[in-house]
Subunit: 325 residues, 2 copies
């Protein structure tokens, strides 16, 4: 295949895959399980055929479409924003949580737990209009670099999954993100990175409020959690936003378990896949970490025959920026 | 033009409109304002051109796509459901609200106000799984008949608006419903009636909960309001579900005002339209009623130059079941 420096472009070259779909996936049972499923549900008149309007596929984001190490990329955004805002907040120096961020003491940040993270999120995500927030994310995602790979976060996306998104769309699927990440954080870059438009991005959210400011209607972001799109929240969000049950679901952690359960409990042909991070050289290897923990879902995958990707052996290329083999 | 007994079918005959779009709309300023807008934003290289992915159009439902008289059709569903459930609730005979419903005393029901309506809604909409609820709606929408027109409610839809939905889609628009009605009530029939898939239907909702029942994952509907998609809620819901600002918005009442304000406040070419119910013979004529009140929005439409449909003079056909002129 031809290489492209821009992973976003390769995501859209769906026609490249006509003759040999999923080129970054090694031949074998994992790749074959995807091909078998798609060929089954697209065969007109066949026993597994699914009408195009029912071809809904849902993807977790962190750890499934892009990396989630050394920590969630949105957390990197939060920490960078705290630093950017610090000059306007001299009082933060005397606050244990904020001062921990300012001196890069991630252990102390983590020790503040969910409550601490939530405070940092609302501080950095609320208090502006939706348009102002989008601009802040846009600027950050353009400038920020991943600490290990030294490239924009939007290039730390899995080439095999981009090919999978394209392959599914070429076969009539609508592809959705269903992520614990912030919906308005992801929408800024999801369309150009994954080819997934804003209306197909579902995520966690804070409350917004409509108001007229100096004659101009705006939506203001309030420091109040609206919805957490993780775990049991994922099927709820799928039902709320999509309104039909997906026929395929892709995740990588225990937070995706309920989404995979909900998807596979429907009638007819169903597909569920977990990305198992097993490559410490090219990416990361982990299971029992605080972020992207994969334990219960892995056991259930084995019991139910869901597809599990072994990144190290199933993917011949993980990132577009790797050199060709 | 040829007639079709099935309004759903005529909605999809988008190719019929190639030569003369919007046939049920009389020639004149109203129809022309739509054509001018669409021709402007689709002219490649023109000053008003809008890329296809940004062509988002949002439609209120009650009073905009179908009638809302003698009262919201979903309220007819609520009242019918109370009657259907009454044999299991002998205690309702002694309850002023429920007994009012059972003896068709709509004045007494209305007197119970928003709190009374909300109680009836949660009684009839909660306590079952999402799949069970869809089946209940499906059965009702098949059997119920509109009291004036004596046909299924899904035929009491405005033929000119079906043509408009088709015309916009033929010009690259994604069409969404943004309604105060219940999202899971509308999704059951919106796709076949309007050609709008479930994932493009946005509405009010109650809370749902994911749980495993006897090994089967289900979503249970709880008697708790989640979101009211009316008035200031409409721009909030548009932002939450669609994530980009529409370029065209269609409504008929004061509850649509903020949606039209939000839509038209964006840059570039924008379009806003209000359906004004002015035909007491073929449909209904009203402004200052409790349902579908049109006062503030009408004044703002006049001030801002939004298009206002005079149903009596602008539409040569209101319903598909009318005889040809």
């Amino acid at each position: 295949m031809t290489t492209s420096a821009d992973p976003a472009i390769s995501a859209f070259r769906e026609s490249d895959q006509d003759e040999h779909p999923l080129p970054s996936w090694n031949e074998g049972a994992t790749r074959q399980s995807i091909l078998n499923f798609v060929r089954g549900i697209t065969r007109t008149g066949g026993p597994q055929f699914v009408a195009p309007e029912e071809r809904i596929a849902v993807f977790d984001n962190d750890g499934t479409l892009w990396s989630e190490n050394p920590f969630y990329f949105q957390l990197a955004f939060v920490l960078d924003r705290v630093k950017a805002l610090a000059p306007q907040h001299p009082e933060w120096k005397d606050n244990p949580l904020y001062s921990a961020v300012l001196r890069d003491d991630l252990k102390a940040v983590a020790a503040a737990g969910e409550r601490g993270i939530l405070e940092l999120v609302t501080t950095t995500h609320a208090g502006m209009t939706t348009e102002e927030f989008s601009k802040i994310v846009e600027d950050w995602i353009t400038d920020a670099r991943h600490p290990k790979f030294n490239c924009p976060y939007t290039e730390v996306v899995f080439q095999p999954m981009l090919e999978l998104l394209g392959y599914l769309r070429a076969n009539g699927f609508k592809t959705f993100i269903v992520s614990g990440g912030g919906v308005e954080f992801m929408r800024v870059w999801a369309e150009r990175t994954y080819g997934i438009p804003p209306e197909q991005v579902i995520g966690s959210s804070i409350v917004t409020k409509f108001e007229i400011r100096a004659g101009i209607p705006v939506l203001t972001r309030l420091p109040q959690l609206n919805f957490v799109d993780d775990s049991v929240g994922k099927p709820v969000a799928i039902n709320m936003h999509i309104g039909r049950r997906p026929i395929a679901a892709f995740g990588n952690s225990d937070g995706d378990l309920q989404m995979l359960q909900w998807t596979t409990a429907g009638s007819g042909s169903r597909f569920a896949l977990l990305v198992h991070h097993t490559d410490p050289i090219r990416e990361y290897a982990y299971e029992a970490t605080s972020m992207g923990k994969l334990e219960v879902a892995l056991t259930e995958a084995q019991a139910r025959g869901w597809t599990v990707v072994d990144m190290k052996t199933d993917w011949n290329r993980i990132f577009a920026f790797e050199s060709e083999k």
